[in-house]
C-alpha cells in the first residue's frame, strides 16, 4: 500500500512539469489557433538556460530565482519567435504556421547544439531539498513533495489569470472570435505576442522545474511533445483543469507502467488517449470545436483545374526525362531519384486527403512504415516471395487505414490531427517495443527484391512505374465524381450532406485509399533499401511529408510531388553540412514566409499574373 502511495506521489510530481508545458501549449492554441510544435523546444531551452543560471546563481535563493528568470528568458525568446516567424503568416492557411513552427524546432535544436554541445547534462539538485522524506516507510524525494505542493498554486495562478483579469477576458474572447476583438479596439498582434510569450514561459518553467529530477539533453524537445499533445488532447484543447487532470493521469500511469508493464510504456499513453477520444471525442473537459464562420481566415479555395496544354507538355517532358534518366546519370543519382519517387508518392497520398479532403493527418507515417513493415515481416518470418509481399504492403496499409480511420474520421480539425498522431505513435511503439516480432530498433534487414528486379536500373523503372502510376491514379481520383464529393465535404460538410453526399463515408474511403498509397510507397521503399527500421514510423517521418506538402503547396495538385523533389534534393545537399538542421529550418521558415502558397502555388500565381496583367491593372 505504502509502495502504491509512493508511486502515486512520484507520478504527481512528474505531472508538474508536464502540466506547465501542456498549459502553455493549450493557451497558445486557444488564442492563436496555432498548434505549436516548437513548444517542446521551449521546454528544452528552459532546461539548458535553467542549468546555466543555476550555475551562476548560488544557494536556494539562486536556485528558485534561476527558475523564475528562466521562464522570463524563454518567454522573451517565444515573443521573438512569434514576432519574426509567425506574425507575417497569420493570414496564411492555419497549417502553414505549423510547418513554420517545425522549422523553429530544427533551428533551436542546432542552436542548442552549438551553444551547449551534444552531451547530456545532469540537473543540479535543489539546495536544501536533496534527501528524501519517508512516507509510511517509503522514501519519497523531498523535491517531489515540493513539486506536488506547488502545482496547485500554479494551476490557481493560471486559472486566476484567465478568469479574473482583463488579459484573461481578452484571451478568451479572442479564442472565440479574434476579428471581433480587433474591431473592438484591441491590438491582436500584441495580444498574440503576449499569449505566445506567456505560453513559452510556461514551457520554460516546466523545463527548469524538472531539472533536479532529470536534466537537459537535445532530445527533450521531441520526447516531451508527444506526451504534451496527449495531455492537451485528453484534457480537451484549451481547458486548463483538463490539462491538469490529464497531466496527472498520464504521469501516474507512466510511473505504474514502468513498474508493471515496462515493455509497453510508450504504447500505454497513446492507448489511454485513443480510449478517451473514442468515449469523449473532444477530451475530458473540452468542447466541440465549432468551425466558426469567423474562424476562417485567408482567401477562399480556387477550384483545381485540369492542366492546359502547357502543363500537360511539361508533365510529359518530365516523365520522358525520368524514363531516359538511366542513360545519363550514375547509380547514386538513380538511387536519389528512387528516393524522390518514393517520397513523392508518399507525399501525394498525404496531399490527397489533406488538400482535397481537408483532413490534416499528423500520422501518415503509420501507413508508409506500416506498408514497409507488412512486406518486410512477411519476407522475414515466412520467406514469402517478394512479389507477393510487395502486394501485401498497400493492402495491409489500406486495412490499417480502415481501422485507424474508423476511429479518427468522426473527429475534425485538430482533434483529428492529434488522434492520427496518437495512432501512428501506437504503431511506432509496437514496432519499437515488440521486439519478438519486429526486432525493435535493430530493424528488419535483408529484405531484397527478386532477382529479376535486383539491378539498380531495373528497380528504378519498377519504382518509377509504380510511383508515377500511383500519383497519376490519385490525380485521376481527384478529378472523378468521388473527388468532387471529397472536395465538397472539405469546403462545406453541411452543404455537401444536404446534396446527398455521405461526407464521413467519402472521407473514410479517401483515408483508406491514401493509406494504401502510402503503403505502396512503403513497399517500394523497403525493397529499395533492403531494410526497415522504426524511424520510418516516427513522428518526424509524418512531419517530413507534411512539410513537403505545405512547401509544395496544399492547394495545388502538383504540390506534393514538387515539394518532395525539392526536399529530397535540399536535404541531400544540406545534410552534408554540420549544422544542416539550422539551415533546413531557416529554409523552411523562409519558404513559409516568402511563399505562403507553397512553391507551386506561388509559381501559379506568378504565371497568372504575367498572363493577366492587362485585366488586373484595370
Amino acid at each position: 500500500m505504502a509502495f502504491f502511495l509512493a508511486q502515486f506521489l512520484t507520478g504527481l510530481a512528474n505531472a508538474a512539469a508536464l502540466f506547465l508545458v501542456a498549459s502553455g501549449l493549450s493557451l497558445i492554441f486557444g488564442v492563436t489557433r496555432i498548434v505549436n510544435f516548437a513548444h517542446g523546444s521551449f521546454y528544452m531551452l528552459g532546461a539548458f538556460i535553467g542549468i546555466y543560471l543555476m550555475e551562476i546563481l548560488p544557494g536556494a535563493v539562486g536556485f528558485w530565482g534561476a527558475i523564475l528568470l528562466t521562464g522570463i528568458a524563454v518567454g522573451l525568446i517565444g515573443a521573438i519567435v512569434e514576432m519574426v516567424v509567425l506574425r507575417p503568416i497569420y493570414r496564411a492557411p492555419e497549417l502553414f504556421q505549423l510547418v513554420a513552427t517545425f522549422g523553429v524546432i530544427l533551428v533551436i535544436q542546432d542552436l542548442a547544439l552549438m551553444i551547449w554541445g551534444a552531451e547530456d547534462r545532469l540537473g543540479p539538485r535543489a539546495p536544501g531539498l536533496r534527501g528524501v522524506w519517508r512516507i509510511f516507510g517509503e522514501p519519497v524525494p523531498k523535491y517531489d513533495i515540493i513539486l506536488i505542493a506547488i502545482t496547485p498554486f500554479i494551476l490557481f495562478a493560471l486559472w486566476y489569470l484567465i478568469t479574473k483579469t482583463r488579459l484573461g477576458v481578452l484571451v478568451r474572447a479572442a479564442t472565440q472570435d479574434r476579428e471581433m476583438v480587433g474591431a473592438l479596439g484591441v491590438n491582436q498582434a500584441w495580444l498574440f505576442t503576449g499569449v505566445f510569450a506567456l505560453g513559452s514561459a510556461l514551457a520554460g518553467w516546466g523545463g527548469a522545474l524538472q531539472l533536479p529530477k532529470g536534466g537537459a539533453d537535445l532530445l527533450m524537445d521531441f520526447n516531451i511533445i508527444g506526451a504534451v499533445f496527449v495531455v492537451v488532447v485528453i484534457g480537451g484543447m484549451g481547458s486548463l483543469p483538463g490539462a491538469f487532470i490529464a497531466s496527472v493521469l498520464i504521469s501516474v500511469l507512466n510511473v505504474f507502467g514502468v513498474t508493471y508493464l515496462p515493455q509497453s510504456t510508450l504504447v500505454l499513453m497513446f492507448v489511454v488517449m485513443a480510449v478517451v477520444l473514442i468515449i469523449r471525442p473532444y477530451g475530458l473537459l473540452g468542447r466541440e470545436e465549432v468551425a466558426g464562420e469567423h474562424g476562417q481566415v485567408g482567401a477562399p479555395e480556387t477550384p483545381i483545374r485540369p492542366y492546359g496544354p502547357v502543363g500537360q507538355a511539361l508533365v510529359a517532358a518530365l516523365l520522358l526525362g525520368l524514363a531516359l534518366l538511366p542513360l545519363f546519370v550514375d547509380q547514386f543519382m538513380l538511387i536519389l531519384t528512387i528516393d524522390m519517387v518514393i517520397f513523392a508518392l508518399f507525399a501525394a497520398s498525404l496531399h490527397f486527403i489533406l488538400g482535397s479532403g481537408g483532413l490534416v493527418s499528423f500520422g501518415h507515417a503509420a501507413f508508409f512504415g506500416g506498408g514497409a513493415y507488412a512486406a518486410a515481416l512477411l519476407v522475414f518470418h515466412t520467406d514469402t516471395p517478394m512479389e507477393l509481399a510487395f502486394l501485401f504492403a498497400p493492402l495491409a496499409a489500406g486495412l490499417l487505414a480502415l481501422g485507424i480511420g474508423w476511429f479518427c474520421i468522426r473527429l475534425t480539425g485538430v482533434y483529428f490531427a492529434m488522434l492520427t498522431l496518437a495512432f501512428s505513435q501506437l504503431v511506432w511503439s509496437l514496432a519499437f517495443q515488440w521486439r519478438a516480432v519486429t526486432r525493435g530498433d535493430d530493424g528488419l534487414v535483408n529484405i531484397w527484391p527478386s532477382d529479376w528486379l535486383s539491378g539498380t536500373e531495373t528497380y528504378y523503372y519498377f519504382a518509377l512505374i509504380l510511383g508515377v502510376g500511383g500519383i497519376l491514379f490519385l490525380r485521376h481520383v481527384i478529378h472523378s465524381p468521388f473527388g468532387y464529393a471529397l472536395r465538397a465535404g472539405r469546403d462545406s460538410a453541411r452543404q455537401a450532406e444536404a446534396t446527398g453526399i455521405d461526407v464521413k463515408r467519402v472521407q473514410f474511403a479517401a483515408f483508406a485509399l491514401a493509406g494504401a498509397m502510402a503503403g505502396l510507397a512503403g513497399g517500394i521503399f523497403v525493397f529499395a533499401k533492403g531494410s526497415v527500421f522504426p524511424t520510418e514510423l516516427e513522428i518526424a517521418k509524418s512531419f517530413d511529408a507534411l512539410i513537403v506538402v505545405f512547401l509544395g503547396g496544399v492547394k495545388t495538385l502538383a504540390g506534393g510531388v514538387v515539394g518532395a523533389g525539392f526536399m529530397t534534393v535540399v536535404e541531400d545537399w544540406l545534410t552534408r553540412l554540420e549544422y544542416w538542421r539550422l539551415l533546413l529550418g531557416l529554409v523552411i521558415i523562409a519558404v513559409v514566409i516568402v511563399m505562403p502558397e507553397g512553391i507551386v502555388g506561388t509559381l501559379r500565381t506568378l504565371w497568372r499574373r504575367i498572363r493577366h496583367t492587362d485585366e488586373e491593372t484595370v
Binding site: 477576458v169 478568451r172 474572447a173 472565440q176 472570435d177 476583438v181 474591431a183 473592438l184 479596439g185
Partner: protein, 233 residues
C-alpha cells in the same frame, strides 16, 4: 466627420462596392438602405477596414483609414456593431462589456457600465449570464452596449432590427434616439424602411454596390418610384 470617397470593395473576385461615396456629418443619424445583397454590410465593413477597399478613401476626422488595422479604426472612435452580433458566447455579459472597454474620448459621450445598464435594463439582470443563454434581442443589446464601452464618436449599426421581436424593435428605435440625444453620430443599415424613418435624419440607398439615392426621407417620399425600385417594401 466621415467621408467615404469612391471606394471599390471585393470579396475575393466578386466586386461588391462600386465607386461608392457618401458623407456622415457629426450629430446625425444616417440610414443606409437597400435590399439583401445590396452591399450594406460590406459598406460597414469597408469603413471598419474588416474588408479593405481596393480603391478609394475612407476619411474619418481628416485621416484616411484605408489600410489601417481594424483595431486602429476602433481606437480612432468608430464603434461597430456587426449584423450577426458576434457576442462572445462563452463570456458573461460583464466580460463581454469588458472586451469592449476603451479609455474615454474627449469628443464623444462617455459610458459607464451603470449608464449602459440604465439604457439596457435587461442586461443588468443578466450580468453574470453567459452570452449563449440570451435571447436574440438581448444579444443585440449586448453587442450595442459592448461597442459603446469603447466610447465611440461614430457608431455603425448593421441591421439592428433584423430577427428581433417587434416590441424590441420599438425599444431599439427609442434607444438609438437616446444615443443621438447624447451626441453620438450613428449610421445604421436597414431593410426596414419604417424603422429607419423613425430614427434617421437622412437616407442613403444603395443597390448592387452603387449609390442610388441620398437625401431626406421627405425627398424619398416624393419619389415613390425610387423606393419601389430599390427597396422591398
Amino acid at each position: 466627420m466621415l467621408s467615404v470617397e469612391r471606394i471599390h470593395s471585393y470579396y475575393g473576385k466578386a466586386h461588391i462596392l462600386n465607386d461608392l461615396s457618401f458623407e456622415v456629418r457629426r450629430g446625425e443619424v444616417v440610414a443606409l438602405l437597400g435590399r439583401n445583397g445590396a452591399g450594406k454590410s460590406t459598406t460597414m465593413k469597408s469603413v471598419m477596414q474588416l474588408v479593405r477597399p481596393k480603391q478609394g478613401h475612407v476619411v474619418f476626422q481628416g485621416e484616411n483609414l484605408v489600410g489601417a488595422p481594424a483595431f486602429r479604426v476602433a481606437k480612432d472612435g468608430i464603434g461597430y456593431v456587426p449584423e450577426d452580433r458576434r457576442i462572445f458566447t462563452d463570456l458573461t455579459v460583464l466580460e463581454n462589456l469588458e472586451v469592449g472597454r476603451q479609455p474615454r474620448r474627449h469628443d464623444a459621450p462617455h459610458w459607464t457600465i451603470e449608464q449602459l445598464f440604465e439604457i439596457f435594463p435587461n442586461l443588468e439582470e443578466r450580468r453574470a449570464n453567459r452570452g449563449k443563454h440570451m435571447s436574440g434581442g438581448e444579444q443585440q443589446m449586448l453587442t450595442i452596449a459592448r461597442t459603446l464601452m469603447g466610447n465611440p464618436s461614430l457608431l455603425l449599426l448593421d441591421e439592428p432590427s433584423e430577427g428581433i421581436a417587434p416590441v424590441i424593435v420599438e425599444q431599439m428605435a427609442a434607444t438609438i434616439l437616446k444615443l443621438k440625444a447624447e451626441g453620438l453620430t450613428v449610421m445604421i443599415s436597414e431593410q426596414n424602411l419604417h424603422f429607419a424613418r423613425a430614427v434617421a435624419d437622412r437616407a442613403i440607398i444603395i443597390e448592387g454596390g452603387e449609390k442610388k439615392f441620398d437625401g431626406s426621407f421627405k425627398e424619398l417620399e416624393a419619389h415613390p418610384e425610387i423606393r419601389d425600385a430599390y427597396l422591398s417594401v
